[in-house]
């Protein structure tokens, strides 16, 4: 399968199955298009010459055909999908758990309009995780992680800084476990910033390998969907100065300012650029995931504008890179040389298998997005995963079990997409969240254009 597209003046040919990405001129673009559309034979220079005569000289066409043949011969164009036979060996590996999302607090000090967690409580009781439960979660991770060395723990909520002493206790316990085992914990924190203070900065910088700081962008956009509980004042004004100081204190360690866009701000590229203008270099702004009947939910008819915004943002990033003002946009980051292996590309995020969420009472769910959904409880921190039938459903889901993914050029970059989105929008782990897929495909194209532009 080959995908060709034009973006920002670049002609791109992606060989989907090998992962090879080529920037080509107009001639080779046309040759590949003819072959791809089945209008000429794969190496038929005669047919190609006939089809392109008038546009290019015979000598040029011959040269172009020769280069296309070189790509084909070197396994970098029109390659076959050879991965299906390997799927069983990947799937048959022993199941390990290597990453946990700890719901440190099912409570929040904000009342964000679009919160998938029901304003922090996940549609249940307000509850804080105890240190004891957190320790048991880490024990589970060590116990179930087989020979994996790197173990990941994200402190999530609700708002985890509302239960920060427990966060610290769990980190300390993790450091003790590191001394007794060959494991290495990577802790991360996701926060809305309201309680963040300078005292926390040094602790977080010492212990957290990544921090996600929530902010939606421009002041009016942020404050509209992220109001304070009191309904008065501006969250943006409170958190922005803190985030700036924090980003500066972070040094070379990872952080992201992360926002959500909705149909209230379909011009979200302006929010990304606003955050970049504030001096942040690591930015993620993502589409809201919401029931279609919510007024702020993204609809199919919004897609044209959203896709144009991604193009606009990518072009702006090229300009900024050239003027020494570059920044990273999470969804445009792609690693063409050192990216993940085929096994990971086929199976995706690992939710329900190697990645689980732990809610304050110690129950396990496939990931934070499945919390509280009937039938999705997988076990608890004492007994581990007991719902092995459910785990097998997640384990068996991959790009080949999703009919729409099989024919999609982006499948080895999104790995079949988010299982929770599939489930929430179609009722099926192997379903296709069409709006999300359209955005994902555009993001992959933009990411590759940026590589072509040297960004």
């Amino acid at each position: 399968m080959v995908h060709i597209f034009k973006n920002n003046g670049y002609n791109i040919a992606m060989d989907v199955n090998s992962g090879a990405v080529h920037v080509v001129d107009d001639l080779v673009y046309e040759i590949i298009r003819l072959i791809k559309d089945g209008k000429v034979g794969i190496t038929s220079e005669e047919e190609i010459t006939e089809a392109l005569s008038g546009k290019f000289t015979k000598e040029e066409i011959s040269e172009g055909c020769s280069e296309v043949c070189q790509l084909i011969d070197s396994g970098r164009l029109f390659t076959k999908d050879i991965y299906m036979p390997h799927l069983k060996s990947f799937a048959d590996r022993p199941v390990v758990v290597k990453a946990l999302c700890l719901h440190i607090a099912h409570d929040c000090n904000l009342a964000c309009e679009y919160c998938f967690a029901g304003k922090g409580e996940y549609h249940g009781e307000r509850e804080m995780m105890s240190l004891e439960t957190g320790k048991k979660a880490l024990d589970l991770l060590v116990r179930e992680s087989g020979n994996r060395k790197h173990l990941e723990v994200d402190f999530f909520g609700g708002e985890p800084t509302m239960n920060f002493e427990v966060v610290k206790g769990i980190v300390s316990y993790g450091r003790e476990l590191e001394k007794k085992t060959d494991k290495e914990f990577r802790f991360t924190l996701t926060t809305n910033g309201l309680l963040l203070n300078d005292d926390m900065f040094s602790y977080i910088n010492e212990e957290m390998s990544n921090v996600v700081l929530s902010i939606d962008g421009r002041k009016e956009i942020n404050d509209r969907m992220r109001p304070l509980r009191s309904g008065k004042g501006s969250l943006y004004d409170i958190i922005l100065p803190k985030y700036k100081r924090f980003a500066e204190s972070r040094g070379d360690k990872n952080y992201y300012v992360r926002g959500t866009f909705t149909r209230n701000n379909l011009d979200f590229a302006e929010d990304v650029l606003h955050l970049a203008d504030q001096g942040f270099s690591q930015i993620s702004v993502e589409p809201v995931v919401a029931r279609p009947d919510e007024p702020y939910a993204i609809r199919t008819e919004d897609l044209d504008e959203i896709l144009a915004q991604y193009d606009h943002l990518a072009k702006e990033m090229v300009k900024r890179k050239r003027s020494g003002r570059s920044f990273n946009f999470f969804h445009f980051m792609i690693d063409l040389e050192g990216g993940p292996c085929v096994a990971k590309r086929l199976q995706g995020c690992g939710s329900g298998c190697e990645y689980l969420s732990v809610i304050p009472n110690g129950d396990l769910y496939p990931c934070h997005q499945f919390t509280g959904i009937d039938g999705m409880k997988m076990g608890d921190v004492d007994s581990g995963v007991t719902n092995t039938q459910l785990r097998n459903k997640f384990r068996e889901s991959n790009v080949y079990t999703k009919p729409e993914c099989r024919e999609c050029f982006a499948k080895f970059f999104c790995s079949g997409g988010c299982a929770a989105n599939s489930y929430n929008f179609t009722g099926d782990l192997n379903g296709n969240y069409e709006v999300g897929c359209a955005m994902q495909k555009k993001r992959v194209e933009c990411a590759i254009m940026l590589k072509a532009a040297g960004v």
Binding site: R186, F330, H331, G338, A447
Partner: protein
């Protein structure tokens, strides 16, 4: 080549043999939490580099 610039040297099939070690970051633990973004994850297996 005169008409083509290839952006990457490594192809996916090179990672079949040593793939699947699972040491890389879980994609949802990075910055997304509402999507699946795998293509930007770094491989941590020296044998695949």
């Amino acid at each position: 080549m005169k008409h083509v610039v290839t952006l990457n040297d490594r192809v996916f099939k090179d990672t079949i043999e040593h793939g699947g070690c699972g040491e890389c970051q879980t994609s949802c633990q990075s910055a997304c939490k509402t999507s699946c973004t795998v293509g930007n994850q770094n491989c941590e297996n020296e044998e695949n580099k």
